[in-house]
Structures are given as C-alpha cells and as structure tokens.
Symmetry: C2
Subunit: 417 residues, 2 copies
C-alpha cells in the first residue's frame, strides 16, 4: 500500500463512540457509562456493532460466549489472519473510551485501508472480546482467557454472578449457544494480534507524546477477603471488649496500601475497590466485612511476593484483633511481553506518520495479556486526559484518536502484507 497517512474519518469514529456510549445502564447520561456483559444493554451494543461491521462489508462470526470476529478477507485467506480489537463492556459509572477505541478504531483502520486501495494477503479481523471487565463474574478477560486456553471451559462455565447464576446459564440466556470447548483458537489462527487502547495512565500526556508502543503488560491478581468479627449494640459493648470487623478491615486496607507503597517495584499497585459491611446499621457494631484486593506489577514475581506479604500482614492483624479471616485467590496471571515483530511494525508506522512516541509498559489489564499466549501480540496506546480512566471524565481528543487509528492501520497493513 501507499505510505501516505491513511485518511481516517475521525468524526465518524467519535460519532460511533458516542452512539455506543448512549447504550448504557448508568442512571446518569453519557459520558457516564455502565454496560455489563450479557445484559440486554450489552446485547444492544453488540447489535449496533454488527450493523457497522456489515456496512463495512465484513463477515461476522460470533463464538459460543459472544466473542465477535468481523473479517476482511485477504487475498490469501488460508494464511493465518491478523487480529485487532478490544472490548465494549464497561464497569459501573465509567467512561466512553476504555476498550471501545480499540474496537471502533480497528473497524476504522480496515475502512481506511480498503478506501486507500490496500489489498492485504492476510485476512484482517476486528475482534470484540466478551467480558474484559470483572464486574459480573469477579474475573476479567473471560473471553480472551477461554480463547487462549488460559481457563478451562468447565472452570468458566461454573463461575457465578452475584445472583448465583453460572456463566454458562447466563451466556445461553443471552443467546450464545454451542460448546465452550469450541472457543479456544489454534496457535496458528493469528499471525499477529494488536490492540489499540487509551493509556489509562498519565505518562503520554505528561510527555506530550502521540503514541505509546507497549513492550509488556503488567500481571494482575485478584483476591477476595472475608472478616468475621463480633457484632453487637453500638451503645452497649465497651471499646476494649469489641471485635469490630470493620476496624479490622480498615487496618488491613491501610496495611495493603503501605506494603504496595513500600514495594521495590514502582509499578506495583494494590487496590481495595469493593468493601461490604454487615449488618450495615448506624448503631450496630459490624460483625462481617468482605473486601476485594486487586494487585498488579510488570514483574509477576514481585507481585506474588508482595501479595504474600499482604496475606501475612492481614493474618497478623486478624490474630491481634481476634477476628476470623478467610481469603480466596480469584486469579493470578503471569505478565506478558509484546512480540518484537509487533513493536517493530508499530514503530515503523509511527515513523512514517511522523508521530512522537515512546516505548512503555501497560499497567492496566487487557485481553492482549491472554492473546499473547497464542499469537505474537502488541499494543498501541494513545494519551488520555490526566491519565483518567474508568470514570465519566475519561477523555482522548479526536486528534489523539486519529493518530492512534492511523498508526494501527499502517501496523495492520504491514502485518497483513
């Protein structure tokens, strides 16, 4: 293909991002967005995307858990394809751009490559992964996990949402049928996979750069803790006799924060994002507290070492306060390295386009983490305002999005040549 900058129609992309954002269960209007997997709203978003894929002349395939592949047939369709995509589910009260830029951006990249007369040998597919967010089932990236064999069909089928319904039941009620065993892709299915995404951090904006070429993806682990203390009347039980589950949880939360800050790795982050108090009455001493821990690092060993320190610290606090502590590891995934071939392709695209870039790591959790197990994988980041994500004020400018889509288009063109 020509090495001219692809004529990205960014107004079209932004318009499609806004139409998608309007398909939301958030009580507040966009930019606040809530779109949880397998809800009626998720299904409407999928129907909207299918319409765009078909308008673009792509062939759509949906697997048994709703991972969606929109294929632009190459001149040699038997060759392993090039994949690009992300997710469209959104945690409660989040924003417009997380995931969606990678799906609609990949679609736009194909549209401009077609328009530019590009005729790649390899097919190029837009992938929309099911349930990148852990909102409903407590574990994220279930679509790419099953696709890459990182989780077994049985383990996935048995996961339950807060209503106690299994993943298998819910996906079938949402209209996705077929054997979960058919979701895994063969190792030679993709020649390469690349995901365009907002950075979800402040580095690119701070350095006034257009593009981040990802070299590694941080490894997340998730835990669930339950504290059983002793309840009672807030007026009657004197302070020395208390075994308050919330005070124990508070001390544990601060221990987690301290150990994360003291970690040898500046990239290690630990977050208590959920904390539920029982019985939750103004005048009742909390008897039970459940809370979550999300801990990540680009160094999996360091992450696991800090997670172990945290477990020790929490057990010591529980002992000292005379409360019972139960802990459960939900997942602990290894970090992923980007393929040199993908880094090279993205950097040559950036060079052609005259954009400013840096190599960087992804601290956030992406489907690419799992795609890297079955294909040479890379990620292209664009800046987002203030590094803000998972919030309604998450924002990237049309220019930033356009630069990302141009970079993705040229990267895909090279990989598919």
């Amino acid at each position: 293909m020509s090495l001219d900058p692809p004529p990205v129609n960014v107004e079209r992309v932004v318009n499609e991002l806004e139409q998608l954002a309007a398909i939301s269960d958030c009580p507040e209007p966009p930019p606040a967005v809530t779109r949880v997997v397998f809800t009626e709203t998720d299904l409407r978003a999928r129907a909207f995307l299918r319409g765009l894929y078909e308008q673009a002349g792509l062939t759509v395939r949906v697997d048994p858990i709703g991972n969606t592949f929109a294929r632009w047939e190459g001149s040699e369709p038997v060759l392993p394809a090039v994949g690009s995509g992300s997710h469209t589910d959104a945690i409660p009260h989040s924003g417009i751009y997380d995931g969606t830029v990678g799906v609609l951006g990949a679609l736009e990249a194909i549209r401009v490559l077609k328009q530019a007369g590009c005729r790649p040998r390899r097919s190029i597919e837009v992938v929309m992964f099911t349930s990148e967010e852990p909102t409903r089932f407590g574990m994220g990236c279930t679509g790419s996990r099953l696709m890459s064999g990182a989780i077994t069909p049985d383990a996935l089928a048995d996961m339950r949402d807060s209503d106690g319904d299994t993943y298998d039941t819910v996906r079938q009620q949402a209209g996705f049928s077929g054997s979960l065993a058919d979701v895994a892709l063969p190792g030679d299915y993709y020649h390469a996979f690349v995901e365009l995404h907002i950075e979800q951090g402040p580095e690119l904006e701070a350095a006034s750069l257009d593009i981040g070429v990802v070299t590694a993806i941080a490894a997340p682990a998730a835990f669930e803790f339950a504290i059983i203390g002793e309840g009672g009347h807030a007026g009657a039980v004197l302070m020395p006799s208390r075994r308050d589950a919330l005070n124990a949880a508070a001390e544990m939360t601060l221990a987690i924060e301290r150990l994360a800050k003291e970690s040898r790795s500046p990239d290690l982050v630990a977050t208590v994002g959920r904390l539920d108090v029982h019985p939750g009455a103004v005048n009742s001493i909390p008897s039970r507290v459940a809370f979550s821990l999300d801990i990540r690092d680009i160094d999996g060993q360091n992450r696991d070492a800090v997670a172990a320190e945290i477990q020790e610290a929490l057990a010591a606090i529980a002992d000292r306060r005379g409360v019972q502590l139960e802990s459960r590891e939900l997942n602990a995934d290894p970090p992923a390295q980007a393929a040199d071939s993908l880094i090279a392709a993205a950097e040559s695209a950036v060079a052609v386009l005259g954009l400013k870039h840096q190599r960087m790591i992804s601290r956030a959790y992406h489907d690419s983490l799992f795609m890297a197990r079955i294909a040479p994988t890379g990620m292209i980041f664009i800046p987002c305002r203030g590094g803000v994500s998972h919030r309604p004020d998450e924002f990237s400018t049309p220019e930033q999005i356009s630069a990302g889509v141009q970079t993705l288009a040229l990267t895909l063109a090279q990989l598919a040549e």
Copy 2:
C-alpha cells in the same frame, strides 16, 4: 394491692415474644429478626399487638405517627397516668428481645395486676413507640422525640429514607394520618414513665444479678461523613498519585477507634456501623465513601469533646490525603437522669420480691431518654446472655424475664396507687 409476687405467666410472654419475632423481613428465620418502621411487616406486628391489647381489655389509641397507647383505666381517670413501654421495630438481622420485652412485659404486668385484684387510682398505659431504631431515617427514637418535643413536627416531617421519601409521606402511606403537631404530650400527661428493657451489656450477668435499676441514660450523637477522593483504573494510577477515598476512610475509622479508646471516660463508645464505597468495582479506585459515626457517653460534655477531637483528626487526615471531607451531625442528645421517685419505687419492688439488683447506667439509647423530658422517668434492666444485643443470639431466660415483669408490675402498682 397485696405484696405477694405477681403471678407472671412467663410462658405466655415468651410465646408472644416468639410470635412477634416470626413477623420479620429477615431472610433467615427467628431468632434472626428484621422489622423496619412503616413496612408492611411493621404494620403486621402492630396488628398483632392490638389484638393482645384488646384481649386484655385495654383501650387503644394510636397517634398521628403510630405511637400506640393501650390504657387500663384507673379509678380516677382524670389523674395523670403511669406509662410503661418500649419499641418493637428491629434493625436488620437483630434479635427477639430488644424493645419487645418492654412492650409485652408491660402488657403482662397489667394483666397480672388485674388478675391480682389491683385497682389503681391512676390509669396505666402500655406505650409502643414508633421507630426507636434509626434504620430507616438515620435518626432513632423519632416517636418519643416528637412526643416529648425534642424534635419539631417540621424537622421530623422532612427527614428522608434511603429512597428519598419523607417521614411524613411514609407514615401516611402506612396509614397514619392527622397533624404531627398533635403528637406532643403535655407535661402533666404522665405522672411517671418506666421502661423495662434487656441490659444490652454484660454487667448484670457477670455479677449474677436479677435486676438493674437505671440511674442515668448515656447520651448518643450520630454523624454522617462523606469523602470525595479521586477514582481511576486500579491498574493504571501509581500508588503515589492516588487519592483513594477508601484508604482515607480506613484511616479515619481507625482514628475514631483510637480516640474513643483513649477517652477519659470508660463509658465512651464510638462506632462506624455503615460504610458505602463508590463505585465499588474490584478494579476501580474508590472515588467516594460515605460512613456513619455513632458516639455515646453518660457524660455529654465528654462525648462532645471526643466528637470534636474526632472531627479535627478526620479533617487532618483529609488534608494530608488530599481528599474532600463533608460532615453532618444527625443528632446529639443530652443524657438523662432517672427520677429519684422511680429509682425508689423500683428498688422497693426488688426488695419485696427478694431479687438481687444494682444501680447502673444505660449505655444504650432508649425512648426513656426523651420521656425523661416530660415525665419522671426510670428504667428496669434484666440480664441478657453475654451482654449480646442487636444480634440473633440476643437472649434472656424466662426466669430473667419473669423477674423483670414482676419488678415492673410492683413498680407500676406503687406509682399508680
């Protein structure tokens, strides 16, 4: 009347307590009980009580917010009456005896006095106060507050529940009509008021005593705090850049615990019973946290001094962590002293019955705190196992309940002579 021990039918009282406990919204069966004011369940409990009052030949009056008076007419009905009662609402997942022993116990006391041929000059009334628990509107004792003029009709009418419905709307939907201004009782309505209640603390059981004669009721205060920090993606925002609202709340919760423990008064207790995290997602940094503070002491000045220290400490934590702190005082009531006449009447009853007793203070919050503003008031405590209350395992033996009802009956008989 004769000074023989009144022939309390404790099987009947326990049976009525158990029937009342079965009227519950708790998903678990009794002894777990949930009965929130103005719910359909609260109304069923009120209907059950009315049936018992009528069987006992008492005249029932219900005021515009549902405070219920069941009157045994004295030989000189024009004289100020003697009142005795408590509440039947129950916080989520609590027990059988809190409040209910004071209502059904007062009913049994009247039944046995009638049976014993007692013919008092003054009328004796069983009072069931509306909403002693703060569960629904955030403020407790709304029935006795309005009855005693401790809150204005307008202030009460405008209080809202978590659905945003006002007290005035909800009480009318529950079928209670009439002007809120008519709830306040004149200062000469009651000659005396006495409340029978489980101790909700461990002292009587530890000292193997039958009865506690209350000399003072601790003063509760309630506050609501909101912390506004900065949310974001749990993977992307590095630890040093965070303004995590939950970590700030955790530090504040521990500061409250520490200041309460360090207080000069051993009777001071402070509890964070509610804590809500927004957005509450595993992989999202908490951006907002709301929590409650309940703080009590028999020394109102000390309580207010510690509450002020807590406010200062919380403000300092908010500053240091760069989060915004909003605080609201829901109520701060003065402590109450029991009337000497009531203490004397209860102690002479205990002497006649040959029971073992001690004078003590009530650390828990009762409608008597407000009744003391409009009538000479006292309280009679019975032991409860392990001092446990507001929990399903709250328990007093039939013998303990019987001793309490006998003491109450003789106390009422003297006061009504």
